[in-house]
């Protein structure tokens, strides 16, 4: 598996590591998250068109933001239920 562009390869690995790190807080557990993340990335490994790889990285960035929002909302809701009785 040789990527055409080492810079892109680096970017993909970076976002993968970032997502993996975030998975430690995932509600269904780290193992649930890790297997699915791995599968999602492996399913894209055949892509060798640079434009498509960039699209994929963008999608990963989007997912990262979504997970951040999910964590924030979950925390906010839990606290609200705990401290605001209405």
């Amino acid at each position: 598996m040789t990527s055409a562009n080492p810079a892109l390869r680096h970017q993909v690995k970076r976002i993968y590591k970032e997502l993996l790190y975030m998975g430690k807080d995932f509600p269904q557990g780290y193992d649930y998250f890790r297997t699915r993340l791995h599968k999602a990335f492996m399913s894209q490994q055949h892509i060798d068109d640079e434009e498509k790889i960039k699209k994929g990285i963008e999608r990963a960035e989007f997912v990262r933001k979504e997970i951040e929002a999910l964590y924030f909302l979950k925390k906010y809701r839990t606290l609200r239920h705990t401290y605001d009785k209405f």
Binding site: K17, E18, Y21, M22, P27, E68, Y71, K74, L79
Partner: protein, 253 residues
């Protein structure tokens, strides 16, 4: 004025998603679970960082924590969110400070670091005491605004909107002051992996309680810790008469 020196104390608590369990000896809760930063302290860090981003002159954001060795991770998280440096006062496991002890300690830190704004979480989600901020303001003789939902600083006057029962209250005060945060103040950012890595380069000072020469002997004694009683299930009634007789039985009618 050369800019604000903000002190943000943070606490390492049992993660909000973990259900605490009372230990077998009934002296406390099981602490061998996931820990994270007190959510209300995340709000105060975020507010300090946002003050800077809103072009309020902020000279320094100092994160502070007193607790066992692992509290250093929480200070790292705070620095990943935007604090400039950290101070960690190490205490041994099982020798946690009480709100008054923390307030006395913070007073020393404020004096030592010449802070002019302290932003605390209104309470920690483990002890739920909600006392430290108020005690600190009292010890320092500073203005205090608790449960802030909006903070604005212009020059040395601070306008704080705070949440009170049944509405909001707007306070105006002069610096220096103590602010405690409420849930709706802002939306804390996520401490991402690259930022945590960068935070490892930020300075973190390690100190001990002895360095401050304080008497922090506990004044409270925990007698016993028990789980709340389990919720009893309801009963189904067949008809209206059944319901009324049941209500009478319970003394509600």
């Amino acid at each position: 004025m050369s800019g604000l020196r903000i002190l943000v104390p943070v606490k390492r608590v049992i993660d909000y998603a973990v259900k605490p369990r009372v230990n077998r000896t009934q002296t406390g809760v099981d602490t061998n679970v996931k820990h994270s930063m007190n959510p209300f302290d995340e709000l105060s860090i975020e507010e300090a960082v946002r003050l800077r981003e809103r072009k309020t002159p902020v000279q320094e954001i100092l994160a502070f924590s007193a607790g066992p060795a692992k509290s250093a991770d929480i200070i790292r998280t705070a620095m990943a969110m935007g604090a400039d440096r950290g101070i960690h006062v190490q205490c041994n496991e099982g020798e946690e400070l009480e709100p008054l002890g923390v307030a006395k300690l913070l007073k020393k830190v404020v004096e030592g670091e010449k802070s002019d704004l302290v932003i605390l979480g209104k309470q920690s989600i483990d002890d739920d005491a909600a006392q430290t901020g108020q005690m600190l303001a009292g010890l320092l003789g500073w203005s205090q605004a608790t449960q802030a939902s909006k903070v604005q600083i212009e020059g040395d006057s601070v306008t704080v909107v705070r949440e009170v029962d049944g509405g909001v209250e707007t306070l105006k005060a002069k610096l220096p002051m103590v602010i405690t945060t409420d849930l709706r103040l802002n939306e804390p950012r996520y401490a991402s992996l690259p930022n945590i890595m960068k935070a490892k380069k930020k300075p973190l000072e390690k100190k001990t309680l002895k360095d401050y020469g304080l008497d922090t002997a506990p004044r409270l004694k925990t007698v016993k810790v028990t789980e709340p009683p389990a919720r009893k299930g309801g009963v189904k009634v067949d008809d209206v008469d059944g319901m009324i007789s049941k209500l009478k039985e319970l003394g509600a009618l």
